[in-house]
Amino acid sequence: MTNGHISQEDLTLHAMQALSPEEDAAVRSHLMECGACRDDLASVAGDLTLVALSVERTPLPAGAKARFLDKITGSPANAPESTGGASISIDRKPVRSRVIWIPWVAVAALLVLAVSLEVQVQRLDARLRIEAERTAQLTATTAHAQEVLDVLTAPNAQRVLLTAAKTPPAPSARAVYLAARGALIFQADNLVQVAENKTYELWVIPADGSAPIPAGLFRPDAAGNASVVLPSLPVGIAAKAFGVTLEKAGGGATPTAPILLAGAAPGE
């Protein structure tokens, strides 16, 4: 306690359930009566959220969503009314009187069947709506991605490099790399033409110091432009830098000096 209130340290431990049971009981008791400490606790809990948010995301196990949807479609809120566990009395009347009730039993069974089918239809309809929304979302995302790719790779796209006035255009390139997906888009401008038996080759220089990884061969068009789009690369390799070398037509296993274009990747 500090000045009749719970210390920030103890509130933090309480929010993390890290106090002993006795200490925790004392804190709970005080919180019931003290609005100021409750406000402080909310602030501390907000800070703890940040710790939780530092966790690296892990993809859900396969089928997790389907299992969840099954649960909510089968949850009590959606389930048809049950008998509430009421006991069913056994009819001891003569067989003849039961025969009278057979048509009614059949009608009741049909009603139950109809209700059951209606519930099934509603579930399928809900599932269909979810899938339709997901499909629409994916379609929009794909269309946008395709549009970006089309612009980046269109042979007739105008590629303009802005430099200080009166500066002769020099070879330059840009690499966009997403290590987590092993995805790379590379565009170069103002490249010098190369002989028939030569080719440019792009390299990814891994951050862990391992050997450069070949990331595609390319030759410039008449205007000196070239691009490499989504070459085959291993996933999860953090890049320290990218480089371009001149190699024999079939490409090289290791970069041949000199490195004609190079760029360091910004640190994480």
Binding site: L13, M16, L19, G46, A52, S75, Q137
Partner: protein, 179 residues
């Protein structure tokens, strides 16, 4: 984006109250990975982590009023509830607190994967800069569910030092994020 996928958390919760399954599906898409990841970080066992995730999201479906507006963002609330429930599972005990008790002052918007990832990167960056002993103390308390006396016993540090370190780490974290 369409319908539920583009709606705000508040709108989705309202629709969940009316038992709108696509709205609950959108909340699942938005937060299930985060909730699962937090639980997995604590439990280190995918099956148990999925059980925790399913249980928490099922509570949102069955009792959406447990999340009360003004108590912070839905994403932040789910992250804390996931951690607390996972610690309960780790300690093999019944839930020590009801979700109703989790009140937090956090307006952090986590409705999109981009916002979640951006916040994760920012927090990780700030945490890396904390003194190693502060990082370790927070790690032991938050993710391993150790009490302050257990941490003191494990690290050999005085009890008061452990408390101060954890508090100092959270203050630095908040300042680092607000900077």
């Amino acid at each position: 984006m369409t319908g539920a996928a583009a709606a705000s958390d508040e709108v989705l919760i309202d629709r969940v109250r009316a038992k709108d399954e696509p709205a609950m599906g959108a909340i699942f898409d938005r937060y299930a990975t985060m909730v699962y990841s937090v639980a997995l970080r604590v439990l280190k066992e995918p099956g148990q982590a999925e059980d925790v995730m399913q249980e928490i999201l099922l509570q949102v479906w069955n009792m959406p009023d447990r999340f009360v507006r003004g108590r912070g963002s839905l994403g932040a609330w789910l992250a804390v509830v996931a951690r607390n429930r996972a610690i309960d599972v780790l300690r093999q005990r019944r839930p020590t607190e009801s979700c109703d008790e989790v009140v937090l002052a956090s307006a952090t918007n986590l409705a999109s994967e981009f916002e979640q990832r951006a916040m994760m990167e920012k927090v990780r960056g700030v945490m890396k800069k904390l003194p190693e002993e502060q990082q370790r103390s927070v790690e032991l308390a938050f993710f391993e569910g150790l009490s302050h006396s257990e941490i003191a016993a494990r690290t050999g540090d005085p009890l008061g030092t452990v408390k101060t370190r954890i508090r100092a780490a959270l203050i630095s974290l908040r300042k680092g994020i607000e900077a």
